[in-house]
């Protein structure tokens, strides 16, 4: 997959080894590469946000003279000239609404002024309102199918068994018992004194502990994969060519 020039591979190797040097102990090389990578990250994010999102979606939609004379050096000054006749149609289709969007966006920054901070509360309110509405819809659409799916029958007709590992009665019973006991464990409105509640919540706690097993194992797997990627790069792409070796 690697399609880099030799000097680029050396640069990558230096960055990788510089960051890995932290495993030995905190040192200046690590700090240097950490700051370089952080700086690069911020720079790339800023440039990509402008070229990929803000420019095509907002700047290019503004009814600016810049669209007619992109090579003019002082187009920024000309940009504010317009002949809007005041019609709503022109506001929308002429792109003037995007100027309003920019102004509304800038209202966020008024929070740094005591005098104009009230303006920022308008956009905060709009954002919170829209966010709450969207979150409400998202919760319903994402969770309701799972809620319905949690009603499982201990009896499965033979014709509906597509995968014997998943579609079986005992699997469904374990599922239902687990979901009820875990909910019981987190049900704090009654004291867990009654044997059914006490033992049920204890079983629920065990089930939660069991579920932490795959969580932890998957975490180890991901961390190891990321580490493997770098080690394979260092050995195959960087070290082997130095010794004219060919990896298996």
């Amino acid at each position: 997959m690697t399609e880099f020039a030799r000097w680029e591979i050396w640069l990558q190797a230096a960055c990788t080894l510089g960051i890995f040097s932290f495993l030995y102990r905190e040192n200046k090389a690590y700090r240097l590469f950490e700051h370089i990578l952080l700086g690069l990250g911020v720079g790339v994010s800023f440039a990509a946000t402008w070229t990929g999102i803000l420019k095509p979606k907002w700047w290019d939609r503004l009814p600016l003279v810049v669209h007619r004379k992109p090579t003019e050096p002082w187009y920024m000054l000309e940009a504010w000239w317009f002949d809007w006749g005041g019609s709503f149609d022109k506001l929308i289709h002429g792109g003037w609404v995007w100027i309003l969007a920019g102004l509304v966006g800038l209202m966020w920054y008024t929070m740094y002024s005591k005098k104009y901070a009230w303006l920022s509360r308008i956009v905060i309110g709009l954002t919170l309102g829209a966010g709450a509405g969207l979150a409400f819809k998202a919760q319903f659409n994402a969770q309701i199918p799972q809620l319905l799916d949690s009603f499982k029958s201990p009896y499965i007709p033979a014709a509906e068994i597509h995968n014997p590992v998943i579609d079986n009665w005992w699997s469904n019973i374990i599922f239902v018992v687990t979901i009820v006991t875990v909910l019981l464990y987190f049900f704090f409105s009654i004291e867990h004194r009654h044997p059914v509640v006490r033992n049920g919540s204890k079983w629920g706690r065990w089930m939660i502990m069991v579920s932490f097993g795959p969580f932890f194992a998957n975490a180890v797997m991901t961390r190891t994969s990321v580490f493997i990627d770098r080690i394979l790069f260092l050995v195959r792409d960087w070290a082997f060519p130095i010794f004219h070796l060919t990896p298996k």
Partner: protein
Amino acid sequence: MARFLEKLQYIDRRYLYLVLAVVVALPVFVSLPLPIEPSQETLGAYRAVESVPPGKIVLIQSDWDAGSKGENQGQAEAIIDHLMRRNIKFAVISANPYGPPFAEMVDEVTARRYGKRYGVDWVNFGYKIFPGTEAYVLPSLARDIPGTVKTDYRGTPLSKIPMMAGVKDIHDVAVVFNIGYGQQLLWIPFVQSVYGTKMVFAIAAINSTTMYSYITAGQLAGMLVGAQGGAEYEALIGYEKRTGRVGWGNRVIQSQSWAHGLIILLIIIGNVGYAFARPETKRARLGMEDGE
């Protein structure tokens, strides 16, 4: 002897890092082909691609970058290989500013293998989903793809890209893939549940555990779990036989097997050390005072 065993708890972690580095590099010197049995979730992803009808495209949200290469590169290579081999056109979009070049690297290498051309067989929209705005962008994208995306990542208007002729909205998309370290969960409430579009997540193993309920509820058609998912997908499409080289997922998972063996061994060694530790040492490790 007991004192020696107790000391096993206190091996300097730097030696462990060194041993782990050596162990994971072993497959570079010694090939260890392991039998790979595709899981149900990987089969679901494979079937989703196999069932793409003619005339429809696949949309890939590719958010992986250098940080998650180990987990996602194998997945991306296998999925793109499968799509190109089956002549399925696809578009790539990203919610990560570092994502587009990595996706493009895989696309271009695979395209050379199959003689595919940019703009005709695939297109890269680039970084078009700003983090935090997904709830607005995804529904907009579902309703009007060219209107939302505007240009590809090279700045070419979508109207000038041949493969986008006739692609208007999410109804022209058969499957949405999300390849990345984490999952873009908002595809499910705002697109999958509204339009019924098939969704497949190809994510890091660490983020996969909570996704199984989405599979059983039918909200996800399939899932690739980390490098293992990539290796399974490679096995399903016969990647090694056709390309003549070991896939990235398979390569990582070979090292992974060695690493897991070592980690299990170290857990046993640590526990043996703990079992032989003096009671006062155990209490000290647990932060307990004398008499507790």
